[in-house]
């Protein structure tokens, strides 16, 4: 695994160096090795000699696509490395007119399945870390769109495809996508509770929320230029982090990404208070599939998100 990662890192560096040296792109979003062995945070490089900083391994978990919003008003072409889940974020941004497709060079990378750094207790564990839940439940391990690829990864818009490319064997061995069928398990567990238990469950979550907006900031579907939670209009959105206002935030956030959530799971991963944000997103995804037909957000750019369209014969529960 280590050799494959080293080889991918090498390929990444070479490609980024060429792209920057030839002037084809003005900058490259990628990952770099952080201050701990289990950290591989995002990096943005603009010079060919910085290409050595790039690194790719099982901790390159960040979805970089949200960072492209910094360039939404720019005419510069930017290159970005995407894993399968991240690539749906690009489609999301293009569909939302936040990004011109021609201004971004998408480079697909094979995904080894990302390690859960929350399980790190000891440096000797390096090879033994469990996979993140979102990788076990992954339905799109391969990029849905890419201009270039490295590591022999295939580009496909079909779900349930097995991981491909240089890391495919290792990813399959670790169980990437093996729990696809369980992705609604938590939603079903909450639905089985009584209304009061559900209410108490979410009350407990809302008491934890500190309104840091990390979930909003990393989300490729949360791309409003002005977020209502930044609004200073009186009596509209309360900024206090009380349970009721946190519930208002949580439910509003879920409704705002309803039908547009690309299931990258980043909101839940970055949440410092361990709030099961994806449970709410998945509830909406499940209901949308059930009510208005199956839909996977961020896969086919020509498809309209379900809340942005309607059919005359939609299900009718209002009298």
């Amino acid at each position: 695994m280590r050799e494959i990662n080293a080889k991918l890192t090498q390929e990444m560096g070479d490609l980024a160096r060429d792209l920057l040296a030839s002037g084809e792109v003005k900058g490259v979003f990628g990952w770099t090795k952080g201050s701990r062995w289990y950290l591989t945070p995002p990096v943005f490089i603009t010079k060919p000699e910085e290409a050595d900083q790039l690194c790719y391994d099982e901790f390159a978990v960040n979805n970089l696509t949200g960072l492209l919003l910094d360039f939404r008003d720019s005419q510069d072409k930017i290159a970005i490395f995407v894993k399968g889940c991240d690539s749906r974020g690009i489609v999301r941004l293009v569909q939302d007119n936040q990004l011109k497709r021609e201004n971004v060079l998408v480079i697909g990378v094979p995904c080894p399945g990302m390690g859960d750094k929350g399980a790190v207790t000891d440096h000797r564990q390096a090879q033994e870390l469990p996979l993140l839940a979102k990788c076990l439940e992954c339905r799109y391990p391969n990029p849905v769109l890419a201009d270039r690829t490295i590591g022999g990864v295939t580009v496909t818009t079909e779900p349930s495809a097995a991981p491909s490319g240089a890391t495919a064997e290792a990813a399959k061995g670790r169980g990437v996508g093996s729990k696809q069928a369980d992705r609604f398990a938590q939603v079903e567990a909450i639905e089985k509770m009584s209304p009061d238990e559900r209410s108490a469950f979410w009350q407990a979550q809302n008491e934890k929320c500190i309104r840091c907006y990390a979930c909003r900031n990393i989300c490729p579907a949360c791309n409003c230029r002005e977020c209502i939670f930044d609004s200073d209009k009186k009596n509209w959105v309360n900024k206090a982090a009380t349970p009721t206002d946190n519930a208002f935030f949580g439910i509003t956030r879920a409704m705002h990404v309803a039908g547009r959530c690309v299931e990258c799971g980043e909101c839940e991963r970055v949440c410092p208070m361990d709030i099961p944000i994806m449970a709410m997103n998945r509830k909406l995804i499940g209901d949308l599939n059930e009510l208005f037909g199956p839909y996977d957000a961020g896969v086919k750019p020509e498809e309209k998100p379900p809340l942005g369209a309607f059919k005359l014969d939609d299900p009718e529960e209002f009298m």
């Binding site: 939603v187 909450i190 639905e191 209304p195 009061d196 238990e197 559900r198 209410s199 108490a200 469950f201 979410w202 009350q203 209502i228 509209w236 959105v237 309360n238 009380t242 009721t244 206002d245 519930a247 208002f248 439910i251 509003t252 879920a254 409704m255 309803a258 709410m280 509830k283 909406l284 209901d287 949308l288 009510l291 208005f292 379900p306 809340l307 309607f310 059919k311 005359l312 939609d314 299900p315 009718e316 529960e317 209002f318 009298m319």
Partner: protein, 154 residues
């Protein structure tokens, strides 16, 4: 005990039998609001628990309006607009239908009784329907009792 709670119980600490639910209705200007107006003109009797907020279209009623109403002390919320096909803006209520079908399920998922949030189609000529919907909802919400979920402490 907060001021809101005090209103809900009598001196003996029992639930107040005279408690009346507070229902906020978001009514489409072109259908439901006209229907409510007709109900008034026709001197129909209905419970005074519903406070109507006139919106240009039921599609204007944002899910956040509903949440905010619950926060500010509503025990029930009604969103009402034109029947599908009758929208003054041609398609507004089709979006309402999709949005609130989803939202109602999300509220239920959050632990709020689905009877507390309802959506109805009421045309400008359906004054009796408006009366019946309001009467029925007032009875249902009264039976459920005061809403404590999502409510801001006052």
């Amino acid at each position: 005990m907060s001021a809101v709670d005090e209103k809900k119980v009598n001196a003996a600490g029992q639930p107040d039998p005279n408690w009346e639910p507070n229902i906020v209705g978001f009514a489409c200007n072109w259908c439901t609001y006209a229907g409510a107006d007709l109900a008034g003109l026709s001197r129909m009797q209905y419970p005074p628990n519903v406070k109507l907020v006139r919106v240009p279209c039921s599609g204007r009623a944002n899910p956040q309006f509903v949440l905010r109403a619950f926060q500010k002390g509503a025990d029930g919320v009604l969103v009402a607009g034109c029947h599908p096909g009758d929208c003054h803006y041609a398609t507004g209520n089709y979006f309402t239908r999709r949005r609130f079908l989803l939202f109602q399920r999300l509220l239920e998922f959050s632990g709020i009784d689905p009877r507390r949030f309802q959506a109805r189609w009421i045309s400008g000529a359906e004054a009796p329907k408006f009366r019946d919907v309001v009467t029925q909802m007032a009875e249902e919400v009264k039976a459920l009792g005061p809403n404590r979920k999502l409510r801001e402490e006052v």
